[in-house]
């Protein structure tokens, strides 16, 4: 796979341009870059390796079939793929048809995850931030993100008032934002 390795240093934009021209090696390079993020999210949501592999396949095939779905002016590719993976996994979890139009997903986010080192640093930061949150706040955020539960479902599960759940979820997201703002 020497073609793949050659593309290791290219930016996401350059790899995507090659994919638009039908370059299969570029697709392999992109897979090597982001498959772990996509797979991990799907696996965490679905709890089943086979189903997570299906989501992984579906997310990358969609990008292959239509690379124009990702609009580089509105965010970076890694986070975008992770959001699409989460949507698809939660749709699978709830046995429902895809609810989100993939082209509507906008992720305005700064950290560039194209390099392995940047990805590792960003992961460390997220884990650190989640780890320093009160456990009730982390739990509310995780239930909403990984289980796709609405705030009333979370409230029913935890016995906490609706308003408290809302406040916790927002505070949790803002804590993540703050960690990446500095």
């Amino acid at each position: 796979m020497s073609g793949t390795e050659l593309k290791g240093d290219l930016t996401d934009a350059a790899v995507l341009s090659a994919i638009r021209l039908g370059d299969e090696n570029a697709m392999a390079a992109l897979y090597d870059r982001y498959s772990a993020v996509v797979y991990s999210v799907a696996l965490r949501v679905l709890g089943d390796t086979g189903a997570a592999e299906d989501v992984l396949q579906e997310v990358f095939m969609q990008l292959w079939r239509n690379p124009g779905l990702f609009d580089a002016s509105r965010g970076s590719l890694g986070p975008w793929l992770s959001v699409i993976a989460r949507h698809r996994a939660i749709d699978g979890l709830r046995k429902r048809r895809p609810e989100t139009d993939i082209a509507d997903v906008v992720v305005s986010i700064e950290p560039d995850m194209a390099g392995a080192a940047e990805r590792a640093r960003a992961m460390e930061k997220v884990r650190g931030t989640l780890g320093s949150m009160p456990s009730t706040q982390r739990q509310a955020l995780e239930m909403a993100y990984f289980e796709g539960l609405s705030h009333s479902e979370i409230s029913a599960k935890t016995g906490e008032p609706l308003g408290t759940i809302k406040t916790r979820i927002r505070a949790g997201l803002l804590a993540l934002r703050k960690a990446f703002a500095s």
Binding site: G22, I90, V126, S150
Partner: protein, 254 residues
């Protein structure tokens, strides 16, 4: 952050897709009018995307990579196989063979480059066309001579609403619908331009998304028709050339 404080928590839930439908409708209505809250929602979606990194660790098995690459090669996006050129049949003398082979290699490289250039030119032309289209849309939305028409239901809640913006000189029409009910699969909504004189003109068919929203952007229209009103009917899936009664929504220009 200048987003409205009363929507702050709902925006966070919406970013996660955790807002119940009734509250989502209220919030989306507000989002249509509030750029600050739209920006905050995008930002929250970015914050939400960071959550994915909390899970990173498991690596997909090698077979998943293989499966993807096989699926990709079964679905090449362009027919790239260059024609085989039986160049040797044209070279009777061994001495000329090497030279000819070299030329053929160069020629093949050239045609590959030409193919790539053509692809890039295609891409560029597409982008130009998209840009042009976007410019037209924006200039219609902001034109001082645009006719702005609001169409509302004669009665009943949940108030389906349509907004048509029409520039006669350019035959440019933008129509935005909200709160529309889903239709059976074999039916569609159809927008009509009702001219000062003559029969209603079909101005695009549309189906609302799960939130009841839809749009029609620059449908094909005859040039320079002066509109008296716009109307919406329910039609068979492929649309009709004349409206089927009753008219669901109608609005006349100011």
């Amino acid at each position: 952050m200048s987003a409205h404080e009363q929507f702050a928590e709902d925006l966070a839930l919406h970013a996660l897709g955790a807002l119940p439908a009734d509250e989502r409708v209220v919030l989306e209505k507000h989002l249509e009018e509030c750029a600050a809250c739209r920006r905050e929602l995008e930002q929250l979606r970015g914050d939400m995307a960071l959550m994915a990194l909390a899970t990173a660790g498991p690596v997909p098995p090698q077979r998943a990579r293989q499966r993807l690459l096989e699926a990709i090669s079964r679905e090449p996006r362009r027919a790239a196989a260059p024609a085989r050129h039986r160049w040797w049949t044209f070279v009777p003398w061994a001495a000329a063979a090497a030279l000819a082979a070299g030329l053929v290699v160069l020629w093949l490289q050239k045609s590959d480059l030409q193919q790539r250039l053509a692809d890039l030119q295609n891409q560029s032309a597409q982008q130009q066309a998209e840009l042009q289209r976007a410019r037209e849309v924006v200039s219609t939305l902001t034109a001082t001579d645009a006719m702005r028409v609001t169409l509302v239901a004669a009665k009943t809640p949940p108030q389906p609403e349509g907004k048509a913006i029409y520039v006669r000189d350019r035959s440019s029409l933008i129509f935005l619908a909200s709160n529309f009910q889903a239709l059976p699969p074999q039916k569609t909504y159809e927008l009509w331009l009702i001219p000062i004189n003559g029969a209603p003109i079909p101005a695009g068919i549309f189906k609302p998304d799960v939130h009841g929203n839809a749009s029609v952007i620059n449908p094909p229209l005859p040039a320079g028709v002066e509109a008296k009103a716009f109307a919406i009917t329910v039609e068979p899936e492929s649309g009709s050339s004349a409206p089927t009664m009753p008219i669901l929504l109608m609005g006349a220009g100011e």
